[in-house]
Symmetry: C2
Subunit: 201 residues, 2 copies
């Protein structure tokens, strides 16, 4: 069985759990306690050259790191990743835009809030917001005229974008500015097989 | 003929020029003057939803944005992108790591230096360096025991990583700390068909 190393609150790992569930692929979930330094342990480092989650471990023991790479690997041959070469490039384009322009800028202010250190990180948060609001405006422009990111259908590009964008308010982002993003987030959450970040008790 | 919209000094566009040259694919190069606001013009925005270079325009007029997506598209079926599904995931993994962890942190300090505003951006540069030195250490660890990023052969993962890492000193990074990266940069530059960022007059 596939094994997914994640953490309770990682948005990048959440994307992979949504995808595995929507593809109907069974997997064993191994949830690391990052606050206790689990990502730095040598046994985990051997699986994850970048010392972070998510990590997908295949049945033969090989591992894949980086959520975009894991999603492209898993979705191959499914309706969530088009076969057409141009459309695949469109999917990769959105996945890398999210990683380059949004991931850190949305995830780190959220992390500072969770740790209660947002006040001392004020300057850094302002820097992140400057770039991320510009990127979110481009995303909102696109979604004002498209239901989905690629080819008018739900793909892993939507899952990859959804994770941290849906959690942006936890980092202090005012998402009311982006009504088209809000409507698209609701469409993604309404997809069959969508799972919440943390399961209710 | 394929058309590449780039700028004189964009590292992301440089990667695509190296790849097109190494694949022996003829292309028309259209170099924008970003300082004059060329990326914001409506005719260019219609080609580039993220308002930036590089943009690859296909013969039918469709465009692909984001360097990683362009490289994956172009390298399909060539020796620079393995066919094997696992190895392709490895390539994507390195490409997204570079975009998420290194691109902005290496490119923006370089940009501040070129604009002569590095002094007023000191705090921001220190923030970038904190993350980027950790990422560069992981890259150096890998290259200490591998000649290339994926499957012991030169692929687009190497080209994607090469661009901004090779220019890191222009952003004030002390790259002597990373001898394995230095040796790998020299190997990449020695590949047939490699082209410099700016052609000598």
């Amino acid at each position: 069985m596939l094994r997914l190393y994640d953490s309770r609150l990682s948005g990048n790992a959440w994307k992979v759990r949504i995808l595995l569930t929507q593809l109907g692929i069974p997997f064993e979930r191994i949830t690391l306690d990052l606050a206790k330094g689990a990502a730095a342990e040598p046994a985990f480092r051997a699986k994850s050259r970048f010392a972070r989650v998510p990590v997908l471990e295949l049945e033969d023991g090989r591992t894949i790191v980086e959520s975009a790479a894991i999603m492209l690997y898993l979705a191959e041959g499914s309706p969530l990743l088009p076969d057409d070469r141009y459309l695949r490039a469109e999917v990769t384009s959105w996945l890398t835009f999210e990683q380059a322009d949004l991931l850190r800028a949305l995830a780190l202010p959220r992390f500072y809030n969770m740790r209660g250190i947002a006040d001392q990180m004020k300057g850094r948060i302002a820097d992140f917001q400057e770039g991320a609001y510009a990127a979110l405006a481009k995303l909102d422009d696109w979604l004002a005229t498209h239901d989905w990111l690629v080819d008018n259908s739900y793909t892993i590009a939507d899952i990859g974008m959804f994770g941290y964008v849906s959690m942006a308010p936890q980092g202090g982002y005012e998402m009311e500015r982006f009504p088209a993003i809000g409507a698209w987030l609701a469409r993604v959450k309404a997809q069959p097989g969508w799972v919440p970040l943390v399961e209710e008790a």
